[in-house]
């Protein structure tokens, strides 16, 4: 029998997934394409949280700020340096990654609530800094225009389909890279650190450097998703990155299960679907303004509590367990 290495199988799987997405993108309406792009963006953001929390054991409430760094980097490289939008997205990831590296060295010395407090402060403070510098556009923010789709894709190729393609492709490439990384030496080192720092240190791992590396990688992925987010809402401003975004992403990560990348798209789907479900519920049964506004938050939070109670390691883990039982 022909032997194919796991890495090649994985690459093959991702290419097939990309092909399926490409086929799907032609058959769905513009609204679904736009929502699909959001799902891809959230998938990336949740992946960055899972990498940091699940694999290196650091809790961050500051991912909205890291996304903002990437978003501003992307917008500035398109607006001020006239770079190609694709390079702008790469810049978003790079700048956020470098920022995360600096932050990671400080964060590596902190643990538990101290790290949570620091990243919480980061999440509320960083977006307000943008108000201080005119080059960042103040409250109004900056426009971020990815440009229209190339003409050769045809007349009826909509802007939303273009968004969908860009988001899905970025998410696929990044997640593929991440899965490979986590299955390599680095992934094993991260897990060793998370499970038993003392033993990992005795085995010769440099804890501070590994933690900073994980933080930097996570920040880079968050930066890319931030770039995608402002591409989808076509502008970047401080109000696009509230603290509640961080909590929302954490919620998505917990629903997915923080210790595994399996089923990661589920968390992203939930984040996109819940406002929709809440809206349709409200339009059917009606209700006061307080009810309408509070319903999505209530649904996300209760889903989370349920997830923590019944599937503490994520639904992916549950499936995995069942499979084991069958054999």
């Amino acid at each position: 029998m022909l032997k194919i290495s796991a890495t090649k199988k994985r690459l093959f799987g991702f290419i097939i997934l990309g092909w399926v997405l490409l086929l799907i993108s032609d058959r769905i309406g513009e609204l679904r394409q736009y929502q699909g792009a959001f799902v891809a963006m959230y998938t990336l953001a949740i992946a960055s949280i899972i990498l940091l929390t699940g694999y290196s054991g650091q809790l961050s409430l500051g991912h909205s700020a890291l996304m903002a760094v990437g978003a501003y980097a992307g917008a500035l490289s398109v607006n001020n340096f006239k770079l190609h939008p694709v390079i702008a997205l790469v810049m978003a990831a790079l700048v956020a990654g470098i920022f995360g590296l600096l932050l990671g060295y400080a964060a590596a010395r902190l643990s538990g609530p101290y790290l949570a407090g620091t990243t919480l402060a980061l999440a509320v403070s960083l977006p307000t800094i943008a108000n201080q510098f005119p080059v960042l556009g103040g409250e109004q923010g900056l426009a971020f225009d990815i440009g229209v789709a190339p003409a050769r894709l045809g007349e009826d190729f909509s802007q939303y389909q273009w968004f969908f393609w860009i988001s899905c492709l970025s998410a696929l490439i990044m997640i593929w890279f991440l899965v490979n990384l986590l299955n390599s030496r680095y992934g094993r080192e991260f897990r060793a650190l998370r499970d038993n720092p003392t033993a990992a240190q005795l085995a010769g791992l440099n804890i501070g450097r590994q933690k900073a590396l994980a933080f930097s990688l996570s920040a880079g992925i968050a930066g890319l998703s931030g770039g995608l987010l402002v591409m989808l809402i076509s502008g970047v401003s401080p109000s696009a990155f509230p603290l509640s975004l961080s909590f929302l992403l954490l919620a998505g990560a917990v629903v997915t299960g923080v210790y595994s990348l399996k089923g990661i798209i589920l968390g992203a789907l939930v984040l996109v679907a819940i406002p929709e479900i809440a809206e349709s519920l409200v339009s059917r049964i009606g209700g006061s303004e307080g009810f309408t506004t509070s319903l999505p938050g209530f649904m996300v939070s209760s889903l989370l509590i349920l997830a923590v109670l019944f599937a503490p390691n994520g639904p992916g883990h549950l499936l995995h367990k069942k499979k084991h039982l069958k054999h």
Partner: protein, 197 residues
């Protein structure tokens, strides 16, 4: 992490029942400035009440933590849960008690905070952020640290808001926090040591 989600549920339920509109709670005593030798200063009887309430609750909590068996059990369960269990402390029950104490202190803080502002589901978000930062600055295992951290943070934030720009309130808080934690990774008044490399 589930306590973050409790926050979401509580805020949503408050929104369901009482709506999102701003409500006002009158302060129990005057919030006008005190008149001292004919000049009015920026310090009201209500501010005095806040100070007294905080001091009293700090004294009570210190006595509880340092002088009673319950306090010893609380500290033991936080410091070394497994050893505490071995010596017969019901760690889960003690933790529940810890939550109850924290809830009571939080309720008091809310009632002292709201008369200066409005009440709505998200009214406490700022308090959550500043409270957390202040506790981390002071060190999470020290009551005195909580007060000192809050004073340091409060003065710094108010000075930067008055003399530089009110927009820099949160960046100032972050700057102070990161400076403190780079020097003392477990806060200023903490007795335990953090990793330093």
């Amino acid at each position: 992490m589930p306590h973050w989600h409790l926050l979401g549920i509580i805020q949503a339920v408050i929104g369901f029942i009482w709506g999102l509109s701003y409500q006002i709670i009158e302060a129990p005593i005057s919030t006008g400035g005190l008149n001292i030798f004919g000049s009015i200063i920026a310090f009201s009887p209500f501010n005095l009440m806040v100070l007294i309430a905080v001091t009293l609750s700090m004294i009570l909590l210190t006595i509880l933590f340092q002088k009673t068996n319950i306090g010893l059990a609380l500290r033991a369960s936080a410091y070394a849960p497994e050893i505490a269990k071995l010596s017969g402390i019901r760690v889960d029950a003690v933790r529940t008690l810890g939550w109850a104490l924290a809830g009571a202190a939080g309720g008091l803080a809310g009632m002292l905070y709201i008369p200066g502002t409005n009440l709505y589901p998200n009214a406490m978000d700022v308090l959550l952020v500043f409270g957390f930062i202040a506790a981390v600055i002071g060190g999470l295992d020290s009551l005195f640290g909580a007060v000192a951290g809050a004073m340091i943070l409060g003065f710094a934030v108010n000075f930067s808001a008055s003399y530089i720009s009110y927009k820099l309130v949160f960046p100032t808080a972050f700057l102070i926090l990161i400076l403190v934690l780079l020097i003392k990774p477990k806060g200023i008044f903490s007795s335990s040591k953090g990793r330093r490399d």
